[in-house]
């Protein structure tokens, strides 16, 4: 493993990145009827990822992603299409909002809705495409400095 660029940055990212990721999920989940949403949430997650990649090296960051960014983005697009198709299956126009209350005994009352599902799709699509850009830029910068 390559040594970190800066020990201070490396140590700080270990604390900051989880908080940023949690904040990004918070933005995603409140997005369908409050400020926030999949797009903004994904951008925060990409910022966290970029910080991690700068602090720990892009090889490490690549490993941490587990799936290729293209696959993540495509999965997001697939989820968006599913949320459109669900409304059609229910006999409503494409992309119409469907709501379903679900009770998880002892835990919570959930208000499930297809707009939230669509937002998850947006989140993954934006995350995947932006990560592609970030990785390409980091890679280019490395090649140029070497």
């Amino acid at each position: 493993m390559t040594p970190p660029v800066s020990i201070v940055l490396h140590t700080t990212t270990r604390f900051v990145v989880p908080i940023m990721l949690l904040f990004s999920l918070f933005l995603l989940l409140r997005g369908h009827n409050a400020p926030g949403g999949g797009f903004g949430g994904a951008l925060v997650a990409v910022a966290a990822y970029a910080l991690y990649a700068i602090g720990s090296g892009w090889r490490q960051a690549h490993v941490a992603l587990r799936r290729s960014p293209e696959t993540i983005g495509a999965a997001g697009l697939a989820i968006m299409l599913v949320s459109a198709a669900l409304a059609l299956l229910a006999g409503r126009p494409a992309f119409a909002a469907l709501r379903q209350d679900a009770r998880v005994p002892g835990l919570a009352d959930l208000d499930l809705a297809t707009p939230a599902l669509f937002d998850v799709g947006v989140y993954l699509a934006v995350f995947g495409s932006m990560i592609t850009v970030v990785l390409a830029l980091i890679h280019r910068a490395r090649v140029m400095t070497e």
Binding site: E70, T71, G73, A74, A75, L77, A78, L81, A84, A85, A87, L88, G91, R92, P93, A94, F95, A96, A97
Partner: protein, 495 residues
């Protein structure tokens, strides 16, 4: 099937195909057949839609379930459904041709982006909202940038830069026009615009916006004097890409002109459509003069795209039922014939090793069947009776005579002769004579998929020629619907 489903499928099917290609990167052999199947399904959806709207009915669905004027409607009338159907047909044939034509390293991106291009064209045909139209145009541009630059050879990149620069400028003008129109009327729903613009009482302001739209769509449709990007960029990418672009992209802009300049901008026909008539005549003439001067198959055909756009704009400019019928008929004929000519040109170049007319030859001796199939779209494009181009030009000339616009009729007939001349130039230089380079080893047989794609398109042109009358009956209703859009407006606003 419900209208909601039928209207959403032309968008969702190709997008689903694109996502499937991206998610199954490990199975590259599936991608080509998947796209062909998707386009076949799309053609079936188009046929089902046509069965519903051929008698002049208008189908509407609101994405997200929000009604007009807040929601974004998808509207299917005879014109938009015909375009969806023809798009599925040519895209299917191009995907069939591309099964054996795309280099393996570019195949994944090609197969993932082509359906997105088709989805965006369908979106532009079906949307009933001006801003949404802008969005579909942008999606179309994005995917065409990728396809055009794919491969990354120097001439391709040069062509893409020109294509991108002009199209971004025209998109900006389009967006400015949309913004001004929203400021004037407070809506971007096309049906509501049709109702509000006449009540505005400010024809001068609306004319300014109309000019922005003429320039924006005119650039994308490659009309005089905004066409120079097209012959500079279209000949550079691989044939499977150019053929799809040639058939589809400029015609989406023609559709947008047809829609907006019958539905929204009819406040001062003398000015707007008078200008369009001049543009039409100059486009025809300059395009064909450019084509006559070319000695490279793809550049020659690219200049013909420009020339033929003139005929479609001529029909719109004359603004009578017969003229609009002629414009729509001509558009369909042109999409089928032009795509096919590029596909055949691709085979010719592969056998002869060049796109230069001088270095080609021996095509008739090597491929008599394909040489015969070349004649179908070539003569149709030149307007030789009884092929489809003849009927289109006949309708347009008749409409021009009825409107007493003799100059444009004379121009259109003269351009027809020059078109015939340049098609015969290909025939007499590249098809009939013996091979220019006899030492060149004979290429293998033409793959069956490519033969099938060319055959299906030639058969479609023949069918359009033979069934010109019933097709004209349906398209005549589409033209009447454009001229008297009450059914369209009522369907959207009262849905």
């Amino acid at each position: 099937m419900t209208d909601d489903l039928l209207l959403a499928l032309p968008l969702l099917l190709p997008l689903a195909a694109a996502v499937t290609v991206m998610l199954t990167r490990g199975l590259p052999r599936l991608h080509g057949p998947l796209n062909v199947a998707c386009m076949a399904a799309l053609a079936a959806v188009g046929a089902a839609l046509l069965a519903r709207v051929h008698d002049g009915a208008v189908l509407v669905t609101f994405l997200g379930g929000w009604r007009a004027p807040f929601g974004i409607p998808l509207v299917a009338d005879a014109l938009s459904v015909t375009m969806v159907l023809v798009t599925a047909l040519v895209a299917g044939c191009v995907c069939l041709y591309a099964l054996v034509d795309v280099p393996p390293r570019q195949a994944l991106v090609y197969h993932a982006v082509t359906p997105v291009l088709v989805a965006s064209a369908n979106g532009a045909f079906l949307t009933g909202d001006l801003f949404n139209l802008y969005v579909w145009f942008e999606v179309m541009l994005m995917s065409s940038f990728v396809l055009m630059a794919l491969g990354g050879e120097a001439p391709q990149v040069r062509g893409t830069v020109k294509y991108m620069a002009t199209n971004l400028v025209s998109s900006t003008l389009f967006l400015a026009g949309v913004g001004l129109l929203y400021g004037l009327t407070g809506t971007l729903n096309m049906a509501e615009l049709a109702a509000r613009v006449p009540a505005l009482g400010q024809p001068a302001l609306v004319s300014v916006v109309a000019v922005l739209f003429v320039v924006a769509f005119g650039t994308k449709a490659a009309v005089f004097p905004l066409f120079s990007w097209l012959p500079a960029s279209y000949p550079t990418p691989p044939v499977a890409t150019t053929a799809l672009f040639a058939g589809l992209l400029t015609k989406v802009a023609v559709y947008a002109l047809l829609r907006t300049f019958t539905l929204i901008f009819v406040h001062d026909v003398g000015f707007t459509h008078g200008a369009l008539l001049w543009i039409a005549g100059l486009t025809m003439v300059t395009g064909v003069l450019g084509a006559v001067a070319q000695d490279e198959v793809r550049r020659l055909l690219s200049f013909h795209i420009v020339s033929q756009i003139g005929y479609m704009v001529m029909g719109l400019a004359l603004l009578s039922p017969l003229a609009l019928l002629g414009a729509i008929f001509f558009t369909i004929h042109n999409i089928l014939a032009k795509t096919n000519l590029f596909l055949i040109g691709g085979v010719m170049a592969r056998l002869g090793g060049s796109f230069e007319l001088k270095r080609l030859g021996g095509f008739y001796r090597a491929q008599p069947l394909l040489a015969g199939l070349f004649l179908v779209p070539a003569l149709a494009l030149a307007g030789v009776p009884p092929l489809s181009g003849f009927w289109g030009k006949l309708l347009l000339a008749r409409a021009g005579l009825e409107a007493a616009e003799y100059a444009i009729v004379a121009a259109s007939l003269a351009v027809g002769l020059l078109t015939l001349y340049s098609m015969m130039k290909i025939w007499s230089q590249a098809v009939l004579p013996a091979a220019a380079d006899p030492a060149r080893p004979p290429a293998g047989p033409v793959p069956r998929a490519q033969l099938a794609a060319i055959g299906v398109l030639a058969a479609s042109t023949l069918a359009l020629s033979a069934l010109a009358w019933p097709v004209c009956v349906v398209l005549g209703r589409a033209a009447e619907g454009l001229l008297a859009p009450t059914a369209y407006i009522e369907a959207v606003l009262r849905a």
